[in-house]
Point group: C4
Chain length 246, copies 4
């Protein structure tokens, strides 16, 4: 057991796993070229089984070493789920699930320390700004229901029901070809002009406030060592000095 | 009265209102699907009346409790207006006003504390940068009048009068399909190239300065506890120390 | 002379000028509607002459009061040039110059204090980041010459010569319909893919560094009173305290 | 040798080089106009040889002065490579390499101090955020393989293999005409809607975190003189004061 722990925690093992994840990802990319698939299909499929076997053994090794502690770390659960998921097509005869094998490439994110940090900081940013994103969603929902009622009858493709409207409004938020949509709608309903312009201005402002909020948080949440002295501390210093001067 | 106040201010009542707002919003979304509307139309319409009744009673309860103080808070006025507005289609026979019922979903924004804060901070940001936005409007107006005079005769759809030009220029600011417009215009009037490029560069710079201004304000207007020590305080400290050293 | 100075510097006069600039701007906007122009054309033309007369007199009054000092302030020169320019169509018979009248609306920018500040801060920002913008220009120029040589022969409309290429590259920087252009070019010259992707990544990074540079400058250049205590001052404080402790 | 060093390091020599780089760039731009090329082609070609000769001599002079120290500076190597590269078409008969002459315009970037600084700070920014960009690449790669498997069969032009998919996904990240692509794909595979919306939201968030990271770094990495006092220093001050008060 001790030797197994030694192996699992060694730098060489880590690099081997990383290398195999990369090789697996490259293989998955190569498989998308019909010419390659036709010629080397069998080899690729066999290699694929080798990779699956390796990753399963790797997870089992780590499970054997850490046991219940294994599941305390989010990233371990992430690895476990990906490997479990990519074993599914073998268990049942679910050839449709073969595409999930691609997720194994995501293990790159969990295998490199700096990539893990990036992911965590992004999840943190999303949590901080959940309120702004929720307001954005409410605004989009109200506009989507309104759009369905106002323009749904004449433009079913874009505003047929609230689901379709939400997709179209998402397109408008990204400012992609929004003028085409608005120009066709506004010939029949002139209300479309204030409707969509107010929507664009509102959502762009909301998105901006997300960006700005994240930025100002990033500036403030510097390393404590780099963090600048606060007003409170300054007042403490002044109080101490005045006591001295008395 | 005291019990009514108790009810209105209780957490359970608040959660009930929030739940009903969400249910109402979901209902309004469901109504946009023609298939659902056809099959369950009567049920939905009845439910809608129940919601309207509930929200009216809720506002009346809060009015009864707080009386004239109710209208001192902006968010209460917001709630009152929305409920009053959505009662209108019942008073007169204004079936066209039925769409305003959707606004009730906006009460979500006024019912959750963190959503109210987001809205207030955005309104604050708009107020701070009213000057930049006003300059942007002046620049757009001047370009719109110029565009109508220069390209209005040959491209009435895009630049027929100052209103149409403003819409087209708004489209150009969002950088959506601007090249199509400029490429058609510039075959006849080569002046279109400097005209639109200067417009894009100018407005993008103005918008950038809004973003940057908001961002630097956000950094500075941190919580007083987090705010960093000022030069003034630093000078006070140094003065006190020099007095001690004398 | 003293009374004239009194008039020119009074708040009422300032507000009157502002009002007339707005009225003039509204008039210029109204003139762009063919229906209005046809019906009230004569009245509008007469009003226009009244405005020109008023603005000329206003500038003459300010010139009479301040004399050579008038031209020391940039904004006065700005006002003078605009009024002089809009008088030109009357001097010669240059009906083509009638469009310059629109520039009078720009006096709105020079007439409101906060608008002047916005403009000045933007000019300042441009000056600070002239170096980045110049590098951006050099990069665009090199890519434009290369594009003309590589794709000019087969796609003369987009890359015929360095001027046309610069316009197309500007369109690509704004990310507007760039994929259409690249997809047509790349069927013949596969080199187009790395060419344009490197161009987009490079220019977007350069633009980002402009934004970021402006933002971090805005944060640092706060009011001296708000500025936080510097390392230098902190070291001074520590030195003083150590002297005390000895 | 001493005089040569004097010449090479003189301001006049520097300005001459700068002037000739600009003239060379202008010449290269002029050559892209077919009319100019036809009429003055011989003159331009001769001038071009003069420029090549001059730049070769200039590099030789600097090599003669600094010898092995010449290659210690990155920008010198940059200059050397560009000149060497543009000499190639003369050595062999590689007329296809004539386009590389354009790169000489890039020497503008290495010849002006402030341009060099801009370039260096951008390279620094890329290095700092290599991790985020790598995560972005991994995400794009996974999505590209998935897209090839899911939509490759029916939309070979956009998602035929992983290379083509990567290009299309790059287009979608830039939000250019993404809705056209998604709308055609989603009629056959409804899974396209969550697929592409999650892709857009994810990549935009990753890009935002790059921008924000660069911005907050820029704010923190101010000049040491401008840097604000840190928490650590503040605690040192407080400790010293408490010692005094005892």
């Amino acid at each position: 057991m001790q030797t197994l722990k030694h192996i699992v925690e060694s730098k060489h093992f880590e690099h081997l796993v990383l290398l195999l994840i990369c090789a697996n990802a490259a293989l998955l990319g190569a498989e998308t070229y019909p010419a390659i698939l036709q010629r080397y299909g069998d080899t690729l499929h066999m290699l694929d089984r080798v990779f699956i076997a390796f990753f399963s053994i790797e997870i089992l090794m780590r499970l054997a070493v850490y046991r219940e502690r294994f599941f305390r770390k989010g990233w371990n659960i992430f690895d476990f789920c990906i490997v479990a998921l990519t074993l599914l097509p073998f268990v049942g005869n679910l050839s449709a699930l073969r595409t999930v094998r691609v997720l194994r490439a995501l293990r790159l994110v969990s295998s490199v320390g700096s990539f893990r940090k990036v992911t965590e900081s992004i999840i943190g940013a999303v949590r901080d700004f959940a309120a702004v994103l929720a307001v954005l969603l409410v605004v989009c929902y109200v506009y989507a229901v309104l759009a369905s009622q106002l323009f749904g009858a004449s433009h079913a493709d874009q505003f047929g029901d609230v689901g379709v409207s939400l997709f179209t409004l998402f397109q408008i938020i990204t400012l992609d070809n929004w003028s085409d949509i608005v120009r066709t709608v506004m010939t029949e309903s002139p209300i479309a002009i204030p409707f969509f312009i107010s929507f664009i201005v509102l959502t762009v402002f909301l998105l901006l406030s997300v960006i700005v909020g994240i930025a100002s948080n990033a500036v403030r949440n510097a390393d404590p060592e780099e963090k600048s002295i606060t007003q409170k501390q300054a007042e403490e210093i002044i109080a101490l000095l005045q006591k001295l001067n008395r």
